[in-house]
Amino acid sequence: MKVNVLAFGIAKDIFGSSSVSVELPEYGTTGKLKQLLEESYPRLKKLASYMVAVNNEYASDESVLAANNEVAIIPPVSGG
């Protein structure tokens, strides 16, 4: 299935775009998505950390994704 992944902050610089499309197996998890993204964009691995948000909520690696989910890469936040 195809998942659209939004990117912000330094992730947008790494992807060179504010979103990327990722082909995931059916019932693909957030962990699988991170693994595929890191293969395509190794610079992700150099970040202090990053989270994945699904439908505006932080998601654990075990969360199962659906094609219509709003998925986003959340690099270390630095508001305030």
Binding site: G9, A48, E57, V77, S78, G79, G80
Partner: protein, 118 residues
């Protein structure tokens, strides 16, 4: 202000002209707006739950900010000052941990996304 309020604690964040001794030209803030609002609301609800808060404001700007401008304001009113101080501190600290907003520091020789790399 409300008649029951005995104390209002306000935190105003301002853009500093240097970081780690290096001159900052300006800052740029970016937000994942829908999730940022959702996380801010969660923090506000936590503050109302933990302290006898009467009114609470969380304000954050995005875009380019010059030195001295104000990216963030937190204001909390409570019957007594202890709660107002504690709740205000809690809200700004938690905002910096969970709200998906990113700060880019722009220097003479380049720019850096704060906290991105170890």
């Amino acid at each position: 202000m409300s008649p029951q309020s005995g104390g209002i604690d306000v935190f105003i964040g301002t853009v500093r002209d240097a970081t780690k001794g290096k001159a900052v030209i300006k800052l740029e803030f970016e937000a994942y707006v829908p999730m940022a609002l959702k996380e801010m609301e969660k923090i506000a609800r936590e503050a109302f739950y933990k302290w006898p808060v009467q009114k609470l404001l969380i304000h954050h700007r995005v875009g380019v900010l010059q030195i001295g401008e104000v990216p963030v304001i937190i204001a909390v009113s409570c019957a007594h000052r202890d709660a107002a101080f504690e709740a205000c501190r809690y809200v700004i600290d938690k905002l910096k941990q969970t709200v998906p907003i990113w700060k880019k520091e722009i220097f003479e020789d380049g720019e850096v996304w704060v906290a991105a790399h170890p």
